[in-house]
């Protein structure tokens, strides 16, 4: 008997793929509905390995789906809902055409809602999965929250986005989860950390809504994405609030509660409402303790416990801990020309208190006249009335402090000062073998003291020729204030550090006596085993070389090239540093000469 001939494309890649048209036919849906359900369920078109075979011999490029994916869609209960909706839409259309507005209204009122919470659960089986995929969701929700009602976007969607985003920001504030901020031309990049997952999103600068070109973006599709994302964000918010012991639907200002009838039509009024909402503190669940301290980091004995790595991780944890309470107890006042939203969010995230002009915007908590304000954030060159009790800084100080994870010295960020560049915190730190100019290094870690910084340089000069001091001061008036502040800052730091030492230094005589007494009591000391540091170094080096010898032949070349690269980069850095040093010395020399000349000239003039 001859076996039946196998049909072509009934197995293999031809059977694995399905064109969009075939999928539509199989699911019995219209293209519109199919698109919607695909986005909701997260089914995307696929690229085949062999297009000709996947398209069953048909040429051209067609949108292909996995047959398995389509079969997966086939079981979705929402498909039935969509079919029901189709009937419903027909009814509405008919009522409109027949001018039966009463029934049309009724249909519109009772329009069935599709519930997609099970899809959220299905796509993200665990909470961490959902957090991992939150980047896109947050960016789109923040973007849509700025939109007015558009033709293809459901009316309540932007409202819902507004509510959910504010709720999420509140969760971030409560959890103190913000880690990095970057102000770019595009918008604000924020990075938060929840449950070990870093989430990055962009918030656009607040401009009024920019009209979009119709042919650039398909609003219908984006709106469907947002539909899913709002659902997801809502449940994520719920979970976050509960894990933070907060009451979930938080009581925000009236503009955000769902049951208000009036909408805020004025854009500015809405924005100020939103910011005011952010300045509220949320209701905690009963019995929840406010200050929940994270336990100390556990140390597990892993196979490759590198003490250096462990130390690094510890330091990182310490830094984060410090960052979380960076602004605690500090009061900030924001001038009206500064964009308030990002600043309120950031300052509240690290425990600060914020307020603004009570006359201009709602939600202010204290007045400008409050003497306990520590910092006033201004973005203008001068101010008429200034308080001595507070610092007037530019907004970039806040962003840079967050990225540096400590309060930066304010002398570079004072009102009217030319700001240092705002660097990105997202640069890869693994590339450590590059030359970093001292200015940038000072920005990155505040503990770094450049050897020949401008200020220290000038100090040395002043010390070396004191007679010049009198002449110097009137000449450099503008730099004077800066120096004074820097000095003040340094003094403060010193005072803090010396306060502890004072107690120790008390009564040196007593100590001496105590020491002598101790000596008298002591037993003759044994001779400890002395370690020669130099000898040890040599031994270490030898051991290292021995280990190098043991590198397998397979990896030897790689190792060699790695080493050579390291050497080369080191050399480059050294060269650049040397160049810089020479350059700085030259500049200094020139300055000195000039000053000497000036002095001579002035002497001549006086004579």
């Amino acid at each position: 008997m001859v076996s039946k001939k196998k049909k072509k494309y009934s197995s293999g890649e031809g059977a694995q793929f399905m064109t969009r048209k075939a999928a539509l036919k199989k699911l019995q849906l219209s293209l519109k509905d199919f698109r919607r359900i695909c986005i909701l369920k997260g089914i995307y078109p696929r690229e085949p390995r062999n297009r000709k075979r996947a398209q069953k011999g048909v040429g051209g490029i067609k949108t292909l789906y996995h047959t398995k994916d389509i079969k997966f869609l086939l079981h979705e209960p929402i498909i039935w809902k969509l079919r029901e909706l189709k009937v419903y839409q027909q009814k509405i259309r008919r009522a409109r055409a027949m001018r039966e507005y009463r029934s049309m209204k009724k249909y519109l009122r009772d329009y069935p809602e599709i519930n997609i919470d099970h899809i959220v659960k299905e796509r993200y089986p665990t909470f961490v999965d959902a957090l991992r995929d939150l980047d896109d969701c947050l960016t789109l929700c923040f973007l849509f929250s700025t939109f007015p009602s558009l033709k293809k976007v459901p009316r309540d969607q932007s409202m819902l986005c507004r509510r959910l985003t504010v709720e999420f920001m509140h969760a971030v504030i409560a959890a103190k989860a913000l880690r990095k901020v970057f102000v770019s031309v595009k918008g604000y990049y924020y990075q938060v950390e929840f449950e070990g997952q870093t989430i990055t999103w962009i918030v656009p600068h607040h401009f009024s809504f920019q009209p979009q070109n119709k042919d650039e973006v398909d609003f219908k599709i984006m709106s469907t994405f947002v539909e899913f994302y709002t659902m997801m964000l809502g449940f994520v918010n719920f979970k976050l609030y509960h894990s933070l012991n907060l009451v979930y639907p938080p009581k925000l200002t009236s503009a955000f509660s769902a049951d208000t009838d009036k909408d805020l039509i004025d854009e500015h009024a809405y924005v100020s409402e939103r910011i005011a909402a952010m300045n509220l503190s949320l209701a905690r669940l009963e019995g929840a303790n406010d200050a929940e301290e994270l336990p100390e980091m556990d140390i597990f004995n892993t196979e490759d416990d590198d003490p250096q790595k462990l130390e690094e991780a510890k330091q990182e944890a310490e830094k984060v801990k410090k960052l979380k309470t960076m602004f605690k107890g500090l009061k900030f006042f924001i001038n009206r020309e500064v964009p308030r939203e990002p600043l309120v969010f950031i300052i509240r995230c690290f425990g600060g208190e914020v307020s603004w002009d009570r006359d201009h915007f709602v939600g202010a908590t204290f007045d400008e006249t409050d003497e306990s304000i520590a910092y006033q954030i201004v973005d203008r060159p001068t101010m008429d009335k200034q308080y001595i009790s507070r610092y007037y800084v530019q907004p970039q100080w806040v962003f840079d402090s967050v990225n540096a994870r400590s309060l930066l010295p304010i002398n570079k960020y004072l009102m009217g000062a030319v700001l240092p560049p705002h660097l990105s915190p997202f640069v890869d730190k693994t590339k450590d073998q590059v030359y970093i100019p001292p200015e940038e290094r000072a920005l990155n870690d505040p503990n770094f003291k450049p050897l020949n910084d401008d200020q220290s340089g000038s100090d040395i000069e002043e010390a070396s020729d004191e007679d010049k001091e009198d002449e110097d001061e009137p000449n450099s008036e503008d730099s004077d204030a800066e120096e004074a502040l820097a000095k003040q800052y340094q003094q403060e730091v010193e005072e803090d550090s010396t306060s502890d030492e004072d107690e120790d230094n008390a009564d040196p005589e007593k100590k001496k006596i105590a020491k002598e007494k101790k000596k008298a009591m002591a037993v003759t000391t044994g001779v400890p085993h002395k370690e020669h540091p130099y000898q040890k170094e040599i031994e270490d080096k030898q051991a290292f070389r021995l280990r190098e010898k043991l590198v397998r032949k397979k990896h030897r070349n790689l190792y060699k090239s790695m080493k050579a690269g390291q050497e080369q980069r080191k050399k480059e850095i050294w060269l650049l540093r040397k160049k810089r040093r020479l350059h700085d010395e030259k500049v200094k020399e020139n300055k000195k000469n000039e000053k000497r000349k000036q002095k001579a000239q002035s002497l001549e003039a006086s004579v």
Partner: protein, 466 residues
């Protein structure tokens, strides 16, 4: 005479047997009496008037009257029975004399009972005050509120009052409660889940979607106040990108439009003239006349002269042969010589071969690597349209003000998102097709057309009137 019954011996072993043969009626009667007393009140406490009736002989009279009465007809009997409480409802009636604990129980007249004079009055007053209408309206409002509230509570979309990731219990997965047992295998449990409740493992997502980040790390040069170096790097990047694009454009232009010869309008016209006048008799042009030949002896001359078969002689043939042989010999000799010299050149040859092979291998490796890198970064081809390529963000140095108040942007975040989705393969790239507005042809009805003539006429008439 009473017969004394012979005593029978019976067992009174247990309670049941004891009760069977003992006369306990008096005890029970006593208890019954006591219960009755409890219900009806104590016998001793009741006044005499309640317990006793003075016999006036009326009862006998009544008995007599009954006897006088005619028996009721069947119809009347039925009617009389209507007033009675139906037997089926007797259960509902209180049997006990214990007083109703709720003294102020609102007695409701059964529906259909006659209105009393008082109720009539109050009803009238209420209708005059329009209280009923108000009540109706309020009820309607309340009903609507209740409905709305119910509807709102149902809306998961706005409430989110559900801990989606909280309970990982089997019941939450749709497994019936009866099957939640440690001895029942998971296959059997899952088998019994309704299809609509079953959480199927989702097919894995495409690699491009899983690996590519949704929000890309920004270039440090796009900061609103960038450092000089980073900004320059960004500008370099943009410049290089632009150069590449220009080169590509130039290439396309050269390959398409530039490939074809251009014909000027004049040339085209001339060509047309020539083509159109092909075969037509030309006007006589003396300049075009062939030049008169100098020596015309009217002799016939073929264009190509006749071929002569000129034979080579023997000597020439021999010479030719010898030359060929000599050439061949020299060639052989050269080859033989080279063979010997090549023996000494072997190492050099080998090294050159290996060198070229190495070069080829390395270039092949490089090619493979670049191709792989390009494929890894390329947007997936999901439809006939190509996804837009990523472009570096250009920050115009003129627009950098350095302060937060005057930040200007030239990027469209929504478009960025849309394109990012396309590049990751979540959306098939497409061209948004704009709906064409249907052009309606407009025309005047012939009688309604207003021409210049009409206007003139109108103006003239107006002038005449004045």
């Amino acid at each position: 005479m009473s017969v004394v019954k012979k005593k029978k011996r019976v067992s009174k072993k247990n309670k049941k047997a004891w009760g069977k043969y003992c006369d306990i009626r008096d005890v029970e009667e006593f208890l019954e009496d006591q219960r009755l007393e409890e219900r009806l009140g104590k016998f001793e406490t009741k006044p005499d008037s309640e317990l006793f009736v003075i016999d006036t002989g009326e009862e006998a009279k009544a008995d007599d009257e009954v006897e006088d009465k005619k028996p009721l007809s069947a119809k009347l009997q039925k009617r009389a029975k209507l007033k009675e409480l139906p037997r089926c409802f007797e259960v509902l009636m209180p049997t006990s004399k214990v007083q109703d604990p709720n003294a102020k129980r609102n007695r409701v007249n059964p529906i259909g009972s006659k209105k009393t004079a008082l109720s009539k009055l109050s009803e009238k007053r209420k209708t005059e005050k329009k209280i009923f209408e108000k009540k109706l309206e309020e009820a309607k409002k309340n009903r609507k509120m209740a409905r709305d509230k119910k509807r709102k509570e149902k809306k998961v979309r706005e409430n989110f009052n559900l801990d989606l990731w909280g309970n990982d219990l089997p019941e939450a997965k749709g497994i019936p409660e009866t099957l939640c047992h440690e001895f029942i295998s998971t296959e059997a449990q899952l088998h019994n889940v309704l299809t609509t409740q079953r959480l199927r493992p989702k097919p894995p997502v495409a690699k491009t979607l899983a690996t590519r980040p949704a929000v890309e790390v920004p270039h440090p040069g796009v900061s609103y106040n960038p450092s000089f170096k980073e900004h320059q790097e960004l500008l370099q990047e943009v410049g290089q990108h632009e150069q590449k694009m220009m080169k590509r454009e130039a290439h396309l232009l050269r390959v398409t439009t530039g490939m074809f010869r251009r014909v000027t309008q004049q040339e085209k016209e001339n060509q047309w003239k020539e083509e159109m006048s092909a075969g037509l008799p030309q006007p006589h042009n003396p300049a075009n006349d062939p030049e008169p030949e100098s020596e015309t002896d009217n002799e016939y001359k073929a264009i190509n002269p006749p071929v002569k078969n000129k034979k080579k002689d023997h000597k020439a043939r021999r010479k030719q042969k010898e030359q060929i042989l000599e050439k061949e010999r020299l060639k052989r000799e050269k080859i033989n010589k080279k063979k010997i010299t090549d023996l000494y050149k072997l190492r050099q040859l080998q090294s050159s071969i290996s060198e070229s092979e190495q070069q080829q291998a390395s270039s092949r490796d490089k090619r493979v690597q670049t191709r792989a890198a390009r494929a890894a970064a390329a947007p997936p081809a999901l439809s006939a349209h190509a996804a837009p390529r990523p472009e570096p963000d250009f920050v115009d140095p003129a627009l950098l003000s350095g302060d937060l108040r005057n930040v200007k942007t030239n990027s469209n975040l929504l478009r960025d998102r849309f394109e990012s989705l396309q590049r990751r393969g979540a959306l098939a790239a497409s061209k948004v097709m704009m709906k064409k507005k249907r052009k309606l042809k407009s025309y005047f009805k012939p009688g309604h057309k207003v021409t210049d003539n009409d206007i003139e006429k109108f103006l003239k008439r107006n002038a005449e009137k004045k």
